[in-house]
């Protein structure tokens, strides 16, 4: 069993090496709940493929399963970059059904959503471990970025040596504070944007091509 597994791993490493140049990089969109990950994923997918990735909502944990949009071709400065976008569920350390009760949801639905959201976090963490070649980390620039989740996830991404692009989203809101995010992660470049309004998307695409091309 061990011998066969090793053999299979060796073969897959060789074949991975052969086809690595042709295969699109899988880019995970990560971040806490309600940071605007799905809005960004939809924005990117709509801009370059015409399709959407998934439904957006102001209720946290709308995305409870990772959704993938494959072969998104982004053109920048005459260069073409093909990526697979993985929109992941918001990562958090606590899920409580009570936070959904404020959004016109009965208890049964709230409990189910809570359970699915928890499964979603587990899935997102699993993808981070196994299946992504790079990360777009989306933060809500109207909230404090110094959280356990952000620190831990950025730490994991750095320990994995994954290329990471940090986006300060929701710049269309008056309380947006991009500098606060830049201060929190000085080792990374922070790009401001409003995925909802499509503000500064040009720079975002340039950086995507630069980081993941």
């Amino acid at each position: 069993m061990g011998l066969l597994t090793n053999l299979r791993d060796s073969i897959s490493r060789v074949t991975d090496g052969l086809f690595a140049a042709d295969e699109p990089k899988r880019i995970g969109i990560y971040g806490p709940p309600n940071a605007g990950k799905t809005t960004l994923a939809n924005r990117i997918a709509r801009d370059w493929t015409g399709d959407a990735v998934g439904p957006e909502s102001h209720i946290p944990h709308e995305t409870r399963r990772a959704r993938r949009k494959e072969n998104v071709e982004i053109e920048r400065n005459g260069r073409k970059v093909t990526i697979d976008i993985v929109d992941t569920p918001g990562v958090t350390t606590k899920v409580d059904y009570k936070e959904f009760l404020d959004h016109d949801m009965d208890k049964e639905d709230a409990v189910r959503r809570s359970r699915e959201a928890t499964e979603g976090v587990a899935e997102a963490m699993h993808w981070l471990r196994e299946d992504v070649d790079g990360v777009i980390y989306v933060l809500d620039s109207t909230t404090d970025p110094f959280t356990q989740v952000n620190t831990m996830l950025i730490g994991i991404i750095e320990s994995q040596d994954l290329p990471a692009l940090i986006l300060a989203n929701k710049t269309d809101l008056p309380e947006s504070d991009v500098q606060q995010i830049a201060n929190a992660f000085p080792q990374h470049e922070t790009i401001p944007l409003s995925a909802l309004e499509g503000e500064n998307m040009d720079e975002v695409y340039t950086k995507i091509a630069e980081y993941f091309g």
Binding site: T5, R8, S12, D16, V91, T92, T93, K94, V95, D96, Y97, K98, K107, E108, A110, V111, S114, R115, T118, E119, V121, A122, E123, M125, H126, L128, R129, D131, V149, M152, L153, I156
Partner: protein, 242 residues
């Protein structure tokens, strides 16, 4: 005097190794089995020796087992033709083995079986002996088998086993078991200790250990409200995605 050379009449104790290379006196390789008790007439049909004990013997008719053989069996019928007799391998007469029946001490049986594993194949009427025959097929009895046969389950183990069965009996489809149900609470605590990556505070309330989730090789794909998990095993157990 269980075995006797049919050429010169020399007798051997049961299972004597001397017989394995032929009779030391006359070189004969045909032996007849003479049980200590009275012979059972039904055993006259079981004179076949289904499998040679010593592979180098061309016509190994000697019987190292306790299988009974009638003294009246003609030497000719115990020759090479009999060794291929299919009846020999399925002969239920083996169950009436007088040597076994006359054995006063059951503790002696295992050692006896290791010698007679070939012929015991025919013994299908006794479930205990049937089990022992399968064990013998794989070689000598090991300590686990010996312990399983001789040791007795302690009341503690019985109690624990009963509790485990009771816990797993919880219906996994139940959406929300009552919080007051002690069994479910216990199970939830137990699972929380084992799977510290997700702590179920109460139905719909979870605490997640992100590092644990990240470090886990297996992937939790589904949570049950009773505290159970459905996990996907690591790739090593199956086919990879790619």
């Amino acid at each position: 005097m269980p075995h006797q050379c049919i050429e010169c009449g020399r007798t051997f104790p049961d299972g004597s190794k001397e017989m394995l290379s032929g009779c030391p006196d006359c070189g004969g390789n045909k032996f007849q089995f003479k049980p200590s008790g009275a012979s059972d007439p039904s055993n006259s049909a079981s004179s076949a020796d289904p499998e040679p004990t010593a592979g180098s013997e061309p016509a190994p008719d000697f019987d190292s087992s306790s299988e009974a053989r009638s003294e009246t069996a003609p030497a000719g019928s115990a020759g090479p033709t009999d060794s291929t007799d299919p009846a020999g391998s399925t002969d239920p007469a083996g169950s009436t083995d007088p040597a076994d029946q006359s054995d006063p001490d059951p503790a002696d049986r295992p050692s006896e079986r290791t010698v007679s594993s070939d012929t015991m194949e025919s013994d299908t009427t006794d479930p205990v002996e049937g089990d022992a025959e399968r064990i013998d097929d794989e070689g000598a009895e090991d300590t686990a088998q010996a312990s399983a046969r001789s040791d007795v389950v302690t009341p503690d183990e019985l109690d624990r086993a009963a509790r485990e069965t009771g816990s797993t009996g919880v219906d996994s489809e139940s959406v929300e078991p009552p919080a007051s149900q002690p069994g479910v609470d216990e199970l939830r605590d137990e699972l929380n200790e084992q799977f510290e990556s997700i702590r179920i505070v109460s139905p719909g309330q979870y605490e997640l250990n992100l590092m644990e989730l990240y470090d886990r090789q297996e992937y939790i794909i589904s949570l049950q409200e009773d505290g159970r998990y459905v996990i996907e095993m690591p790739d090593a157990w199956g086919v990879t995605d790619e």
